[in-house]
């Protein structure tokens, strides 16, 4: 790792320098005499420093100086899974929407993190948990939307401004969902007490809860346009 990084930077620096030299040379408006160093001066300078330091580091890192630091296989797999899933999450965010994709990402990461690794025999439990978790998130999302819309409609009809306030509707929704969440937690404890059941339960409840809280904060309070994707209501 220690020897690879400067080598990668040598390549990046060369590519960056090619990019910097290829930039269109423009000077600022009103600079008829050409006194402005130009738009590519600093990129070229930066590229030269990057290349010089990365070459220096490449030559300096001795093979003997490298301490063997092997990452545990389970951890390495989890890191690779996290990176791969987050890339997929970003790519599919618009199509599948915030609620479903965030819940799926959270469920998968929490589940496999609890299992401290990824093995084939975990797949059935994972699949079951993902279905349960997706169902639960759809339920609490729909309930949340229903509560919020009902409050706003009632507030508008009765000219009661408090009910239309985003903080109030989010607060009421959060309390209602907390009650449902607690009930689901208590019920799920009775259903399965095995270790596998525990992992599924924790992951399938954590993911929808965090997803819904993020939805309430960013969408309902800060009015961020979270992609709807497959959920049209």
């Amino acid at each position: 790792m220690k020897r690879a990084i400067p080598r990668v930077f040598v390549v990046i620096s060369i590519l960056y320098l090619i990019f910097a030299f290829s930039l269109e040379e423009r000077r600022m408006i009103g600079d008829e005499r050409g006194w402005d160093p130009g738009s590519r001066a600093l990129p070229i300078g930066t590229g030269v420093i990057m290349l010089a330091t990365s070459i220096y580091l490449t030559l300096r890192e001795k093979p003997a100086a490298e301490t063997p630091e092997k990452l545990e296989e389970g951890s390495a797999r989890l890191i690779a899974l996290t990176i791969a899933l987050t890339v997929l999450y970003i790519l599919l965010f618009k199509t599948s929407g915030f609620i479903l994709s965030t819940n799926a990402l959270l469920f998968t990461l929490v589940y496999f993190n609890y299992r401290k690794g990824i093995e084939w025999h975990m797949v059935p439990g994972f699949g079951l948990g993902l279905v349960l978790s997706s169902g639960f998130v759809l339920l609490i999302y729909s309930l949340g939307r229903f509560i919020t819309r009902s409050l706003v409609l009632y507030g508008k009809g009765a000219d009661f401004e408090l009910f239309t306030s985003k903080l109030f509707t989010s607060g009421v929704t959060l309390i209602a969902l907390a009650v449902i969440f607690t009930a689901a937690l208590l019920m799920s404890r009775k259903i399965s007490r095995s270790a596998e059941g525990k992992y599924i339960r924790i992951s399938a409840l954590t993911a929808p809860a965090v997803t819904e809280i993020l939805y309430l904060v960013f969408k309902q309070i800060f009015l961020v346009r979270l992609a709807r994707g497959l959920i049209t209501w």
């Binding site: 600093l42 330091t53 990461l109």
Partner: protein, 504 residues
């Protein structure tokens, strides 16, 4: 006087007070969880602060900052594992006190010390930053360009064990800052312009997603390596008497004053950070208590003195690090770099302009820091038996939440334009992965952030200075202040070679 009242009023309202309180609690929790840093906490809260007014947003971030710095002492005392580098030196005497059955007093002492350090450094911040900011009136483009250079070289030289690594990551930050569009000519500076001209890359790399990626996602990926260790539930530790005897604190006046001085001073030097300050103050306290005339308990034996010295210093760093950030636009440490980023995003320019045109905001920042310290003292003392329970939160659950919060936080900045927002998530993830591998290779992250923050300032002022000087590149050597900054930049690099036992 009007500005002072306006500044206080910007903070003394229910909304802002609630945000500070929330930030404080979140900060204490994040600080207490080993592996999660104060910088990460602030970076994760950036998107929320972005949605609030300038004063309220800064108040929230300062609450997180204060809370995270003091919260780090909880695992240091109870488990012997510092929550983050701020509490590295608290481990020695803190853990020894716990073993003696004095965990409550150690926790209480750490909180009181954090409060004292935070308040005195705030006073020093309020005293010195306007004076230094007034000095910036003398700055033209040449001085500003060389000041940016000083910021970059100091952080590159002190943040890495290897100077070349610091310079390399600093220039990577600079390269990222230069992507997008030339500020003077609006010429595109992106690779494959024919292909990417209509993508969000034309606006360059935005600071918030970059900060979230570098400090949030990269840290979460690093923490995944420790996932197999499980969580660190503290053993059944009885926490009895919490508040340390006032007479004992009064007897420690010299340790408190010196630790505050060390913390504030080290905090004010860009790039140094709390870990240096806590060790220096701990060593100083050791020397004071080992003198024959001293009536204090010897530091290192598991005593309050050994807990209070580093805890005074690490919270004194918070005020100290804000001095150059607010007055010069050069952050004292990575956490203040993120705070500075939050100000810049809101269009606030540090320096004399801030202290003249937005004085009420400056007062609001000072007052928020004061309230944050008061809340920190209150919450930590009240919750001294509750906060240690956060150590039971499993990392298996926490890491995915941090990753998702980082992604959605990055998305929220451009929350109305879905494609740009998705692009920002990509920026955060990419820089998070890069940051993770760099950290693994022993490369510092802070210079990248400094490069990103100071890149624009460096380019604009460098080009303007050369243009105004008629194309003369030696203009930087003809102006005394600019020349002084160049010498300072050179010295900061040269001193690296004189430091004993350092790999160059």
């Amino acid at each position: 006087m009007e500005e002072l009242a306006s500044g206080i009023l910007q903070v003394l309202n229910l909304e802002t007070i609630l945000w500070i309180a929330l930030g404080e609690v979140l900060g204490i929790i994040l600080g207490a969880l080993p592996g999660l840093t104060a910088t990460m906490g602030i970076a994760l809260m950036l998107p929320i602060s972005f949605q609030l007014s300038k004063a309220t947003g800064m108040a929230l971030l300062l609450g997180v900052y204060c809370g995270a710095v003091s919260g780090a002492s909880i695992p240091a005392i109870l488990l012997g594992i510092p929550g983050n580098p701020n509490a590295i030196a608290t481990v020695y005497d803190g853990q020894a006190m716990t073993q003696k059955g004095l965990a409550g007093q150690a926790l209480g002492g750490a909180v009181v010390a954090s409060f004292i350090g935070g308040i005195i450094s705030l006073l020093l911040l309020a005293l010195f930053s306007p004076l230094i900011a007034r000095f910036t009136l003398l700055f033209g483009p040449a001085e500003k360009a060389t000041l940016a250079l000083v910021g970059l070289t100091i952080i590159a030289s002190v943040s890495a064990e290897n100077l070349a690594k610091g310079v390399l990551t600093g220039s990577v930050g600079l390269a990222l800052a230069l992507l997008g569009t030339d500020p003077f000519t609006v010429a595109l500076r992106i690779p494959f312009p024919n292909l990417l001209a209509k993508t969000p890359l034309t606006s360059g790399i935005k600071l918030i997603p970059a900060l979230i990626g570098l400090f949030g996602i990269s840290q979460a990926l690093s923490d995944l390596e420790r996932i197999r260790e499980g969580y660190l539930s503290p053993r059944q530790i009885k926490i009895e008497k919490v508040f340390p005897p006032l007479r004992k604190i009064a007897r420690m006046w010299r340790i408190i004053i010196e630790s505050t001085g060390i913390g504030t001073l080290i905090g004010a030097i860009p790039g140094t950070g709390a870990s240096i300050a806590v060790f220096l103050s701990y060593e100083r306290a050791k020397r004071i208590t080992s003198s024959r005339r001293s009536k204090l308990e010897r530091v290192g034996t598991g005593c309050l003195e050994g807990v209070m010295a580093p805890e005074v210093a690490n919270n004194a760093v918070t005020g100290g690090a804000l001095i150059p950030a607010l007055s010069l636009g050069i952050p004292g440490d990575s956490a203040t770099a993120v705070l500075l980023g939050a100000l810049l995003i809101k269009g606030v320019v540090p320096g004399n302009q801030l202290f003249t045109q937005e004085l009420s905001l400056v007062y609001a920042i000072f007052f928020s820091l004061l309230l944050s310290n008061v809340f920190m003292l209150t919450f930590q003392l009240m919750g001294v038996r509750v906060f240690p329970k956060v150590l039971s939160i499993p990392m298996a659950m926490l890491i995915p939440v941090i990753i998702v919060l980082s992604l959605i936080g990055s998305y929220a900045i451009e929350g109305q334009a879905i494609l740009s927002a998705i692009f920002d998530m990509g920026v955060a993830l990419s820089l998070g992965i890069v940051g993770y591998f760099l950290k693994k290779g022993g490369y510092p992250i802070a210079p990248i952030v400094l490069g990103l923050i100071l890149g624009g300032m460096l380019e604009e002022n460098f080009r303007t200075a050369v243009k105004l000087a008629g194309g003369d590149y030696f203009v930087f050597f003809t102006k005394p202040i600019a020349l002084a900054f160049i010498i300072l930049a050179f010295l900061s690099l040269a001193l690296t070679f004189l430091r004993p036992g350092r790999n160059r």
